[in-house]
């Protein structure tokens, strides 16, 4: 793939004046940057060192511009969103990951566990009629039997057969294999039979043995997470991949993470979307850390887009990055802003100031504020409904509408 033409509103500026030199770069760094830009233009793959250079260069607009070219070549002016809800069945968790403020131990007054009846009632009474997806992730609750996890999917499907169930991270899949005393493949068979649609990409954090040892030693390590993801994708199940940034990790570890996800994708091809997750320190064991700032948010999005040349989508997860950054990130490599979410618990336990959920109109407005065309999608990007007719898109028209 080469970046020949991008039929977008920003495409009018493709042939723009050459801006010689750069106020923030040495001649040598500028040459390196230009060499990387030429590689991306030619559709060549970037290596680890190049990714690290992009991650560290102060020329964030050049990196953003390059990531935006890739983004527009793949998706034009479209920006995707989904009508979804989060469902966290339990916050009891056997693990004690130091970046987590959601997990609770027995005896904690804030601990909760939803019965299947409660879930059924919630779905029947509160789920919006046009809801497309449920994102199901919870604590590793030792009191819940194997059958609960399977029946949970059945219960939801019984009430609302059309809902797509994006359920259970690799952490939960591996846990099910342990408590069900079955291989992962057999667990997946049970889940698929009960209505599983796809798997979320959480629980991977950073693919680094050092970070794993320091922050979440009880949970699946890098190799096991990748192995479980391989099994899931070999079973034909699509999934996402996330990356938790802005805590104790190094730049090298983030870029290495991207390379390892890219390597697995070469082999399996099952990753739909890459989702950088901005760490929120409040109420966690790492509350002394400052957390990521806006520049790191944009850098991470842009470098992810440039490194993960075999993954279709890069998401700006507004719950964690914030609505403002999500809007800006649509020009720095992101093409998807997740969805309505409705009732987010995990990041808000860690002090997130974003709303718990937003409505469809707000998502559309956010996308239009960025002068993009909102496209309502389903989980697998199979059913795509543009909110503005594609082709009628003219930048200033979009801009006037946004005002």
């Amino acid at each position: 793939m080469t970046l020949a033409t991008a039929p977008t509103v920003r495409g009018a500026l493709q042939r723009r004046p050459e801006l010689r030199g750069h106020p923030l770069l040495s001649c040598e760094d500028l040459r390196t940057l230009e060499r990387i830009e030429a590689k991306v233009e030619a559709g060549s793959r970037l290596d680890f060192e190049e990714g690290l250079f992009l991650f560290r260069t102060p020329a964030i607009h050049r990196v953003g511009s390059l990531a935006n070219r890739v983004r527009e070549t793949r998706h034009g002016d479209r920006a995707y969103f989904v009508l979804n809800r989060h469902l966290n069945p339990s916050n009891y968790c056997v693990y004690s990951c130091s970046f987590c403020a959601f997990a609770k131990k027995p005896g904690d007054p804030e601990a909760y566990r939803m019965s299947l009846e409660e879930v059924q009632k919630l779905v029947a009474e509160q789920f919006e009629p046009d809801l497309s997806e449920v994102h199901i992730v919870g604590g590793i609750d030792p009191k819940l039997p194997y059958s609960y996890f399977i029946d949970l999917l059945r219960v939801i499907k019984a009430v609302r057969p059309s809902l797509h169930l994006k359920a259970y991270t690799m952490i939960e899949i591996e846990w099910l294999s342990r408590i069900g005393r079955k291989p992962v493949d057999a667990v997946l068979d049970d889940l698929l039979e009960a209505g599983l649609g796809s798997c979320p990409g959480g629980g991977v954090e950073v693919l680094s043995d050092r970070v794993h040892e320091a922050l979440f030693p009880g949970k699946l390590g890098p190799d096991q997470w990748l192995e479980t993801a391989r099994r899931v994708q070999q079973r034909g199940i699509r999934m996402n991949a996330t990356m938790l940034y802005g805590h104790i990790e190094s730049d090298e570890e983030l870029v290495r993470h991207m390379v390892r996800i890219r390597d697995l994708q070469d082999e399996t091809g099952g990753f739909l979307t890459f989702i950088p997750l901005a760490f929120h320190p409040a109420n966690t064991e790492l509350s002394h850390l400052p957390g990521p700032t806006g520049v790191l948010d944009l850098r991470t999005i842009a470098v992810s887009r440039l490194m993960l040349d075999n993954i279709d989508h890069v998401k700006t997860y507004w719950i964690m990055q914030g609505l403002g950054i999500a809007e800006v990130a649509l020009d720095y490599g992101a093409d998807d802003i997740d969805g309505t979410v409705v009732q987010e618990r995990i990041t808000h336990a860690a002090g997130a100031r974003s709303p718990l959920g937003v409505n469809r109109e707000e998502l559309i407005r956010l996308i239009r504020n960025a002068s993009r065309i909102p496209v309502e999608r389903d989980t697998l990007y199979e059913k795509l409904v543009p909110i503005d007719p594609v082709g009628a898109a003219d930048y200033n028209e979009l801009r006037e509408r946004a005002q």
């Binding site: 723009r16 923030l24 230009e34 607009h61 806006g294 403002g324 809007e327 504020n369």
Partner: protein, 370 residues
């Protein structure tokens, strides 16, 4: 990479495209932008490019990789106001039980708190109270000056000065002269909104129009008093109105060189009469970039973290801003509209550092403090 590297001339599809390409070339070369250039750039679809141009302009103006801020405090002596601006959620009409006027003791307490955290400046702004004329402010400033000889008093935006001049039947130069004699050091650029009267008639008919606003600034500058300039965008104005606003400020600055800095923030819809959607994050970065390019005679530009939060506030450092503004410690006006993002000093410094700049404290004159 650069698609235009082979041909320095630009093949844009339309006249507006050509105008934009010319404006981009001029902006990159650091030439003065004309109205048509500004009108093209404010419509530029490429956010990355605007950031690139504004960052270059910022480093031409301020070559050091540092970002300043000031430890100051907002004090709003009264929220009683007869201006009735349609965008405001802070004001109360005379007689409203929620109306207040701070006592001197309350104001002193606030200043004491400021000094305890190492602050050096108060920003005194409030409503257009129908009974607080020149004597009230003279007395307040004198008391502050007496009690805190080195405190910098940055106070009374032009519309308040116009209000005081009407109420006390004094000319604008006399009001400024008397306030300065009482202790006023500088004037904040608040109440500028958009300096186009057709816009002001719609959103703030009771407040100074653009002529008197600019007159106050011109008079202050003539006396050697420094001021700031602001812009509140994202309500009923057009993109060209924003350009007009910037050009008016640039023209006055050409004559007086009295403005220290420019600050832009969006209209905050919560709780006000104007039922409009909140303007977006990209808009904030775009207007900052365009302002940095147009206002080539303004030394400094502040990012409005109070309205945008620390993340976008920080990103504006890559869209032309070189200053994080004031710590404020207290904010009542935009928070009345449901927006409040005060940030502790350590967080301000962290945002500056993690963007690759050195944080430095300054005074109103942008002199870096040791």
């Amino acid at each position: 990479m650069n698609p235009a590297a082979a041909s320095p001339s630009v093949c844009a599809p339309s006249r507006s495209g050509r105008a934009l390409s010319e404006a981009i070339e001029k902006a990159w070369a650091g030439e003065r932008l004309q109205r048509r250039d500004a009108e093209a750039l404010i419509r530029c679809p490429d956010l990355n490019l605007l950031g690139e141009l504004a960052t270059a302009a910022r480093f031409r103006m301020n070559p050091l990789p540092r970002v300043t801020y000031i430890v100051d405090r907002n004090i709003n002596p009264t929220n009683v106001c007869v201006a009735r601006c349609r965008f405001c959620a802070f004001d109360r009409l005379p007689g409203d039980p929620e109306g207040y006027v701070l006592s001197k003791e309350e104001i002193f307490t606030k200043v004491d708190e400021l000094l305890q955290v190492g602050g050096i400046q108060v920003l005194l702004q409030g409503g257009h109270h129908p009974e607080l004329g020149i004597e009230y402010y003279e007395d307040l400033f004198r008391s502050l000056r007496e009690r805190y000889p080195s405190l910098h008093i940055h106070g009374l935006s032009p519309s308040e000065i116009v209000h005081v001049s009407r109420l006390s039947r004094l000319s604008i130069p006399v009001v400024i002269e008397r306030l300065e004699a009482a202790g006023l050091n500088s004037i904040p650029g608040g109440g500028g909104e958009i300096l186009v009267d057709s816009v002001r008639q719609r959103i703030a008919p009771g407040k100074a129009m653009s002529g008197p606003w600019l007159t106050v600034m011109r008079e202050a500058h003539r006396r050697g008093m420094r001021t700031t300039a602001t812009m509140m965008y994202g309500h009923v104005e057009t993109l060209d109105d924003r350009v007009e606003h910037l050009l008016l400020l640039r023209d006055l600055q050409d004559q007086t060189r009295g403005f220290t800095a420019f600050i832009a923030w969006p209209f905050q819809p919560g709780g006000s009469e104007l039922d409009l959607p909140r303007s977006g994050a990209q808009e904030f970065l775009r207007i900052n970039a365009v302002a940095r390019l147009v206002l080539d005679n303004f030394d400094h530009q502040q990012t409005s973290f109070v309205t945008q939060g620390d993340k976008l506030g920080q990103l504006a450092l890559f869209f032309g801003c070189d200053d994080f503004g004031g710590t404020m410690l207290e904010e009542n006006v935009v928070s009345a509209a449901g927006t409040q993002c005060l940030i502790p000093i350590e967080r301000i410094e962290h945002c500056i550092r993690s963007a690759g700049f050195e944080p430095r404290r300054r005074n109103m004159y942008y002199e870096v403090l040791q």
